[in-house]
């Protein structure tokens, strides 16, 4: 049934600042987060390019940067990790797309706390600027990796970048924690209280389910990181000794701390850090389930199982943090416990994977660009995920920890799969956000180069790691057995250069299509969920007073009953009449 004329209230009374900058509109806030992530990913990509070039051509003088010294390399890898994990993977899927589409998919007209939403974005932006400032202070950015282990991170004299650079890092991440929790409060309240009539929890699209569980994880995990960051800041600036033990001598000078425990930081950080990687990947999983269903013209295989698997992954994710600490000297019995729990997490993950395959099986698949990226997600998730149970065994991890094997694992499963989910969401929802289609051929080209590039970059790293190439080393060309691996490193670097260059295809496609793309209708993908009821782009107040009433589940594609009508379509919108 056609939707009545949109409720547009675009009077000229709201100025530019109110509409585009300080807007409480969830759509604007979502786009703001998205563009912040875009800026962060570009900086992160450039940093990774600099790192890869340095590994293979250590003495190269790079324009604008000069020669990359060891402290520069370490600063780049720290900031690359921080930017990508926090400002890209924890921001774009959840705060970016979630803010834009959660209310729309639930049939709400706004998020629960619009002003809090706006405040959350501005705090995140401020955190990003504080982090970027670390590059420009004396000493430069921090060297300690995104994990910031003390005592290296706790003592300002421990190296360049460990002074103000680290203080800025901690301040930035503290602000990011606060903003994330504020956003999560919004998501949880919206999901619980603002669903349209008829939208039961089990009728929510899986994207909404994953945004919901991710928000719960955020609330529980980020607070612990904030506590740890505050303690580290106090150790650095207030003379306390939460993490710094007695008897340290750094650069010839005895450090004036006593009684702290560096291991405590690891516990606190990884208690946050492991749920963090699920925060990064769960929205992507929801996105993938959603898109595989839409483009196979089939319901999600095992919707309830997917919901319970999501909840299971979220819950179990809090119990496995010790698998990042197998080599820290903890008791082997603790190692056994963490190992068992980590392997247990493979069960709900496998359920999800098989259900994705089951969704595709015998579907009438439409090979659109969003679908390509979703299939890419599944492929990369499997490839990266299979090395997880390997690393979960302490006997193997003792050897593979801090090698390129781990780098390969998390890049494939988190970076590549997560980024593919962001790409698929972008190509999928671009028509709704901007009213125009992205170019599909350019998108397909972007997919193939990025997909093959991802494998070309990270698959060889398994071999490098197994052969003993350690990570976070600026230069190992002087070491015999590592120098022998240089040809493989060269291959990886060349693949990285090509893949990064291919991202320009995406950028060009994105910005060109915003203005010149083919006009998209209300529902170009023929999708059942509520956001496709609204005009593209949606009006200021979304559904406003015309509250949709939901009568169907979110994945009514090719339902048996549909063939009985003179059906022009093979799908049923969620708010279509109850008995069509």
């Amino acid at each position: 049934m056609r939707h009545p004329a949109p409720i547009t209230t675009q009077t000229a009374t709201t100025g530019l600042l109110r509409r585009y900058l300080f807007s409480t509109d969830h759509k604007t806030v979502g786009l703001q987060y998205f563009f912040l992530s875009l800026a962060a990913v570009l900086v992160g990509m450039v940093l990774s390019l600099l790192m890869r070039i340095h590994i293979v051509w250590p003495k190269a003088a790079i324009p604008f940067v000069g020669e990359i010294k060891p402290e520069n390399y370490l600063a780049y890898l720290t900031m690359h990790g921080t930017l990508m994990v926090f400002f890209v993977l924890s921001t774009a899927p959840q705060s970016g797309f979630g803010n834009y589409f959660l209310p729309l998919q639930l049939g709400a007209s706004e998020m629960a706390f619009p002003r809090l939403n706006m405040a959350g974005f501005w705090i995140t932006l401020f955190a990003f600027l504080v982090l970027m400032a670390a590059f420009f202070v004396p000493g430069g950015a921090s060297l300690a990796g995104w994990t910031q282990y003390p005592p290296l991170s706790a003592v300002a004299s421990a190296g360049p970048g460990q002074g103000r650079g680290t203080d800025l890092w901690l301040l930035s991440i503290g602000l990011f924690c606060l903003a994330s929790v504020l956003g999560a409060i919004n998501f949880i309240t919206t999901t619980l209280k603002l669903r349209a009539p008829g939208m039961t929890l089990m009728r929510m699209p899986l994207t909404c389910w994953t945004w919901f569980v991710t928000a719960i994880l955020t609330v529980l995990a980020f607070s612990v990181l904030l506590a740890a960051a505050i303690m580290l800041l106090l150790d650095r600036n207030a003379g306390t000794s939460f993490f710094v033990p007695a008897g340290l001598v750094i650069s010839g000078a005895a450090v004036d701390h006593h009684g702290g425990s560096p291991l405590m930081w690891q516990h606190l950080f990884w208690f946050f850090g492991h749920p963090e990687v699920y925060i990064a990947i769960l929205p992507g999983m929801g996105m993938t389930s959603h898109l595989l269903s839409v483009f196979s013209r089939k319901p999600v295989f095992g919707y309830k199982a997917m919901v319970w698997a999501t909840i299971g992954i979220g819950a179990l994710g809090f119990s496995v943090w010790g698998h990042h600490m197998f080599v820290s000297g903890m008791s082997p019995y603790a190692g056994f416990a963490f190992s068992t729990l980590t392997t247990a997490i493979a069960v709900p993950s496998a359920i999800k994977t098989f259900n994705w395959l089951g969704t595709l099986w015998h579907g009438r698949i439409r090979f659109t660009v969003p679908l390509l990226f979703s299939i890419g997600f599944v492929s990369l998730f499997i490839s990266g995920g299979l090395t997880g149970p390997m690393l979960a065994q302490p006997a193997l991890d003792v050897y593979l920890h801090d090698t390129y094997f781990v780098v390969a694992h998390f890049h494939l499963i988190m970076a590549m799969a997560g980024v593919f989910a962001i790409f698929s969401a972008t190509y999928f929802w671009f028509p709704k956000m901007f009213g125009r289609m992205m170019d599909q051929r350019l998108g397909a080209l972007h997919f193939w180069i990025t997909f093959l590039g991802a494998y070309a970059i990270f698959m060889p790293m398994h071999l490098l790691g197994a052969a003993g190439n350690p990570r976070r080393y600026s230069e190992l060309t002087g070491v015999q057995y590592v120098a022998a691996m240089t040809p493989l490193h060269r291959f990886v670097t060349v693949a990285a250069i090509i893949t990064i260059a291919a991202q320009f295809l995406f950028l060009v496609n994105f910005f060109w299509s915003m203005f010149k793309g083919a006009p998209a209708g209300e529902n170009p993908w023929q999708c059942t969920t509520l956001e496709w009821r609204l005009p593209s782009p949606p009006p200021r107040h979304g559904f406003g007073d015309n509250v949709p009433v939901v009568n169907h589940g979110p994945y009514e594609y090719s339902s048996p009953g549909l063939s009985s009508q003179a059906a022009a379509s093979d799908f049923l919108m969620q708010d279509a009449a109850a008995n069509p």
């Binding site: 009545p4 004329a5 706390f113 529980l220 612990v224």
Partner: protein, 251 residues
């Protein structure tokens, strides 16, 4: 529509859409008969729904804060168990020193905080009763029931914070600084974090108090006091927990 300084939150009827299947009124109603742009960004639901929404938001906030303080508490327990090898004594020792808390001042502060919880609860219930009258269409008189109790709560809140500063001063005069040892560090950190969070809640209460003299909707004030009351009670329970924790682990 002219801006009235005290809006009484009467249930508003939903505006129906242009027909078609499925367009039945939401049982709680959607606010407004115009485009919804009242100037209040979250003014798209009735009073009762707004209150429920803010309550859930506060519950989630309290959960987040619990996790934060749980993290600090776990860190404290971890640190209490840290030992090091003493070469002279040739055994593992703990380098913990006992913490002598100024109990007199702390008990006074605790009493002040608990009383403030009671007065805030009285204020909250007064406002709730007032809003129920308002929902029935009876506009109750202004400045009745809530202001005295709310004012007393704010005064007691400031008194608690002043008392905490006094406690820290007592400890400082005894030479127990932030960085002195494990227990002192965590004492300052836990009580300091608690005080900072309490101050935030106090600011909201202060704003609700003075907002009646500037143009602010009654409904917003009632919601502010209601959810801040929950937050305040959580701060009270948290304080008792922190006090008990530092006492029983004083060494």
């Amino acid at each position: 529509m002219p801006r009235i300084s005290e809006h009484v939150g009467i249930e508003r009827k939903p505006k129906l859409g242009g027909g078609g299947p499925g367009k039945i009124p939401h049982r709680h109603g959607y606010g407004g008969g115009d485009d919804g742009d009242h100037g209040e960004p979250d003014d798209f639901l009735s009073t009762k729904d707004r209150l429920r929404r803010y309550r859930i938001g506060m519950v989630v906030t309290i959960i987040a804060l619990s996790t934060f303080f749980a993290g600090l508490t776990v860190a404290y327990f971890l640190r209490l168990s840290v030992t090091h090898w003493d070469r002279d004594l040739q055994k593992t020792v703990r380098d913990l020193r006992p913490l002598a808390l100024p109990y007199a001042r702390l008990f006074v502060n605790t009493f002040i905080l608990l009383v403030s919880g009671i007065t805030l609860e009285l204020s909250r219930q007064g406002l709730l009763a007032k809003s129920e009258f308002a929902a029935m269409g009876i506009a109750p008189p202004r400045f009745k029931t809530e202001l005295p109790w709310l004012g007393i709560t704010v005064v007691l809140g400031f008194a608690f914070l002043a008392g905490q500063i006094m406690v820290w001063n007592i400890l400082r005069h005894q030479g127990v600084y932030f960085s002195a040892n494990t227990r002192s560090g965590f004492f300052y950190l836990l009580t300091g974090s608690h005080a900072v969070h309490l101050a935030g809640g106090l600011l909201v209460l202060l704003w609700a108090l003075v907002a009646s003299s500037v143009r602010m909707r009654f409904e917003s004030r009632q919601i502010a006091v209601e959810v801040t009351a929950w937050y305040w009670h959580f701060m009270g329970v948290l304080w008792i927990f922190i006090f008990a924790l530092m006492h029983f682990s004083r060494g």
